[in-house]
Every structure is written in C-alpha cells, then in structure tokens.
Amino acid sequence: MTDSPRPIDNPFNAQHLDTMPYIEHAFNLDEITDRLKQHRYRGAVCGPHGCGKSAMLRALGEQLMKHGLSPLPLFMNSDGNGQLPSQWVRTIRRARPTDVLLLDGYDLLPAVSRAWVLFASRRAGGVVVTTHRPLIRPRTFAEPMPSPDLLRRLIDQLAPSFVGEIDINRLYHDTGGNLRDALRRAYDLYADTMLQAERS
C-alpha cells in the first residue's frame, strides 16, 4: 500500500493540461485573430513539437465564436498512420460558410489527402491547421514561441506553490523546449515531491 498522491489530484494530470486556459505570450490573441481574418480565416499555426500549437488552436476557437463563426475542431495524431479519419471527411464535407475547420495534426496527412482537405473545405468559412514546418498552403500566420518564462507561467497556473520547488530552466532545457514534455515531467516531479513530503 502506497501513500503517494492520487493521480486525479496531480495538478499536471492530462485533464488539467487539456483544460487550462491559454496564456497569451509573445502574441496577443486579438491580434492573431485579426491576422487570421486578413487571411480570410485560412492559415497555419506553425512550430515544433510541444510549443503550444494545439493550445493556440483551442484558444482561437473561442475567439472565432466571438466573431460569430462556428469552430469545428478535428484532431489526429501519428496513431492514425497518415490515414484521413472518416470523422474529418464527414465534417469537412458538411462545413458551411459560417464554420471554421480547426485541423490539429493536418501535416501528418500525406500530400494527396492535404490537397483533398483544402479542396473539399472550399465552402467552409475558414480552415486553420497546425503544422511542424511551413507549408505553401495554407500559409503560416502564427508561430507559438516556447520559453522558460512561459513554462514558469504554465506551472504557476497549474500549481502555484510548486513553482519554487523545481528548477524550471533546467526542466525547460532537459525537455528541449517541448512544453508538453516538460509538463509531463512536472507530473512525475510533483508526485515524487508529494511522496517525499508525506514520508518526512
């Protein structure tokens, strides 16, 4: 029997990471939304793994609703083996002029599928994708920039009392600036710290 803290109570568990509010840094969300509007709501959020692309896409969804548009978020990861998910096909085909498709994982698709997505979504009000490298279409309109300061603010938001317990610069550099990996590592560090505190 262990006295370790319960995963459901760990502030870095997946549920908390998925639902935490977006932290504006480097970019102001209103400015980004305006920039997207200038691109007729078609563009790419570009950046390396774990830099905050998905978080920015979720935050943009909220912004688009304020503009009277209806965001349709779709997600895929590498488990899909590059296959176009049937949910994507259904949703893209029925998208209307007031809908904006938010396609997270778009660049995992093969070129022919990406071309189909852009063609089939021509009636939609917009298409915003995430990508790890710049694309010819849609063009990049935002590049989230990770930093140790952003990691500190994320940790402060999830577990304020834990900020002083860990070396955030080291955590950032050990995970190569991948904020997602850093927060997953923080999950383990938090569990270890709580366990040691209980034992002492």
């Binding site: 319960r6 870095f12 568990n13 997946a14």
Partner: protein, 119 residues
C-alpha cells in the same frame, strides 16, 4: 439550495461490486427545465489519455421548479476505484438539467473493500 443535489442512500458512498447504487436527486431551479439526467460514470485521470464510461443513465421529467426523485442503478462489477502512480479510476454520480445547465456530482468508490484500491 438552488440547483441540483445528489444524495446517495449510502452516506459513505462506498459500494461493493454488484451492489445497487440508489439515492435521491433534488432540484430547486431558477428557470424551467424539461428533464434531469442522472448518470453513473467512471473516468480515468492521470498522466495519460483519459478514458470514460457510462454505467447507467436515468432521466426524469421536470414538472415544477422544485422537487425530488429517487434514482437507482443496477450494481456494477467494475472497474474498481483505483489510484496508482500513473492513473486514478474514479466513479461518480452526475446530474444535469436539460436544456438549462445546472449540474451536480457526487464521487463514490467501488471495490470489494469499499475503499479505493492502492498498489
């Protein structure tokens, strides 16, 4: 009280596999609603992707702004309430109004001992 309350019959909210889960749902609403939905659900939480299951669901037509109704779910065999290093499996009863958005939930445990299983 304004909103929804869930009062399980078993005050310790500790159930063994197969034991029916019963209780009362009460409401005191600020605006009319058509129905109240009560669900028995389990959910994982932890470092990885979440999973979720609905073990039972009942709905009650709402005739007035205030009232209460008994709910009853057949006993379930699992998964047991559990907390390890990477994952918690947690059970709860949740209730919400439809179409308005009042919401309430009560956690419970399900295991042969009545407590959360720990490795």
């Amino acid at each position: 009280m304004t909103g929804l309350t869930i009062q399980p019959d078993r005050l310790d909210r500790a159930y063994v596999p197969g034991e029916p889960i019963t209780g009362t749902i009460g409401w005191d609403l600020a605006e009319p609603s058509e129905q109240i939905v009560v669900r028995l659900v389990w959910q994982t939480a932890g470092k990885g992707t979440e999973d979720f299951g609905v073990a039972g669901e009942e709905s009650f037509a709402v005739q007035s702004l205030r009232g209460e109704c008994a709910f009853s779910f057949d006993g379930v065999e699992g998964p047991y309430s559990f907390s390890g290093t990477l994952i918690t499996i947690a059970w709860r009863i949740e209730a919400y109004t439809d179409p308005s958005d009042a919401h309430a939930e009560q956690t419970l445990t399900l295991s042969p001992t009545g407590g959360e299983v720990r490795p």
